[in-house]
Assembly symmetry: C2
């Protein structure tokens, strides 16, 4: 890579924040919807329609025209170009993710350096006066909670069918959904992976219990699902033979992951299974179709946890073996099978306690 190419790549990085917000603002301002309803509007007409000075409309749309998202012709105004061909469901998914990035990450990233130095969320504290992780803070801050929850529900709905299609569930399985939040994972387990005699228990902080039990009732699975309150790092309940760990290990540094896996190992009988769903970096990190490294390190360290980030599949495999598990199956999602706007490339690791 020449110095010139390196500097050109720096410039791509430099325009990253402005590009991101220019695109998102054109949606937030209603400009895209207005053009969908009535193609051919001028900047003046668009400005009237969305309540923004035409000069600003024209400025923000320059980028969308450059990208071919929106078209412009002298005398014929603006119209949706490539954006007009994207199904609404896809746009909604992408916009939920963009909104999450804006609310949970954009401003917080300013303090990434100090967050990396201290292992704390300096940006979150400066903006919200809050100590702790994003997950501690969402309860009290609706903007963070809504941006986050909307995204996680979308992610879970899209990825759980793939997860449950790729794990084995023995008859009579007693399943523990580790850090199962308010029960959606348990509901999906019952709905997507039902076997005779199965019981699913959500394990998470005690304050999640009420909402979790309500969710079980609302989904008609209250007879088959239950809740145990506790903290993963203080000990994991025994009496289960299948443990699910979804969207969780990537939140922690190595020491904490090892602690969690040791805890799971201790809680399981020999022959018990653990099934892990986690985004992974490609073994060759220079693969360009995997965007996990472009996003997650800064996101976890600077915006949500003050630590953590995904690993390569081989790293998780090594850690599982180090903790007394035999890895029986791994599946990495082919990035080409994911919608092209989706960042996380997930993998599944299934492992058995050997001794």
């Amino acid at each position: 890579m020449t110095p010139e190419a390196t500097l050109a790549r720096f410039r791509e990085y430099m325009v990253g924040p402005t590009r991101f917000m220019t695109l998102l603002s054109c949606f937030e301002l209603g400009i895209v919807d207005a053009l969908r309803d009535r193609p051919g509007m001028t900047a003046a007409e668009l400005g009237d329609a969305v309540g923004v000075k035409p000069d600003a409309v024209e400025q923000l749309l320059f980028l969308l025209v450059k990208e071919g998202f929106v078209g412009y012709e002298d005398g014929r105004g603006y119209s949706l170009d490539a954006l007009g061909g994207v199904p609404e469901r896809d746009l909604k998914r992408a916009l939920a993710y963009m909104n999450m990035i804006k609310v949970v990450a954009l401003r917080q990233l300013f303090n990434l350096t100090e967050s990396a130095r201290t292992g704390t969320l300096v940006g979150l504290k400066e903006l919200y006066g809050a100590e702790g992780t994003l997950y501690d803070v969402v309860a009290e801050h609706r903007d963070l909670r809504e941006a986050w929850a909307k995204l996680m529900d979308t992610v879970t709905a899209n990825i759980d069918p793939w997860f449950f299609g790729n794990i084995d569930m023995p008859s009579g399985a007693q399943v523990l959904d580790l850090a199962g939040n308010t029960g959606l994972g348990a509901v999906h387990t019952y709905q997507m992976k039902h076997v005779p005699g199965m019981r699913v228990t959500t394990f998470d902080l005690p304050e999640k219990e009420t909402e979790c039990l309500e969710n079980f009732r609302a989904h008609g699975v209250a007879e088959h699902c239950s809740f145990i309150g506790g903290n993963v790092f203080d000990g994991i309940p025994e009496g289960f033979d299948v443990v699910l760990i979804k969207h969780f290990l990537d939140m922690f540094d190595r020491d904490a992951v090892i602690q969690i896996l040791n805890g799971v190992h201790k809680s399981l009988p020999v022959g018990g299974q653990v099934n892990i769903l986690v985004p992974v970096y490609p073994e060759d990190v220079t693969e360009t179709d995997n965007h996990n490294v472009d996003f997650f390190p800064a996101f976890f360290i600077g915006c949500t946890m003050g630590q953590g980030g995904p690993q390569k599949l081989s790293t998780y495999r090594n850690w599982l073996e180090e903790c007394g598990f035999e890895v029986t199956r791994t599946v990495t999602k082919d990035p080409a099978e994911l919608p092209q706007d989706v960042i996380p490339v997930p993998a599944i690791l299934s492992a058995t306690k050997t001794a």
Copy 2:
């Protein structure tokens, strides 16, 4: 452009903010300097050297390895790859720009939508409690001032020789540097474009006078340069035959630009000249080697002015003609001649008052 390609492009936008801060943080944390001093360090050794947990060092470096900026080999640690070949002077320039974007724009962009709706800097107000534009606020906020001033000095030093090499200066010229700030433009005018009998006057807000006159003395041009205090929108001083407008017109919407140009027209004698230096959008906005539209609309509307943004050269030409000028010469910088990290692609418009 297919829906798939459009969504893939959205993903490039989504990772823009995290990519930007991950790269900048690796410099801020001292990781790049540490690797320059001692190639081959492991994450643990780097962590020790810069005071950051090795897990975080490893996470942040994944992206730099993906990009080929930094190399990594098992057992041989990290070393500078492409970054090792970039001259220090180029890196410093790029980092000054990145720091400016971080301090002046990154967090402020969160409020771009509201800034576009209101024409005010909502983000600047929320972060600093300050009303007004960035230029009103820098005096009181050192972080903003330093990030901004460092960048503008670099930009001015790089671009002024090109500007003065491309304008004519008649013997005995009485030059007014409009919105000339604290006099650097006037100093450059005298140093780079000296003609017999020339006099250069900086015109800007009265509070700039002291620092401006100090600058004239420090540069040994106090005999040939002077200062007039005032506001461009309240009337432009007469008695000059050359007006320079550098880095200024792009800060305003059309109405204000027309007001400025009408004011300059009124102040000049017939035959008087105006020379404008301003970033421009390409006539075909889809040209990919011009990054002005990727940056300036959001930057001006959301972070510095609440309005403004560059225009196409043809637009500035039309506005000049509308205000009674004949455009005598235009030059647009060839983007290929700029260092590859530099965002602004500038142009010069020279025009004469015809009647």
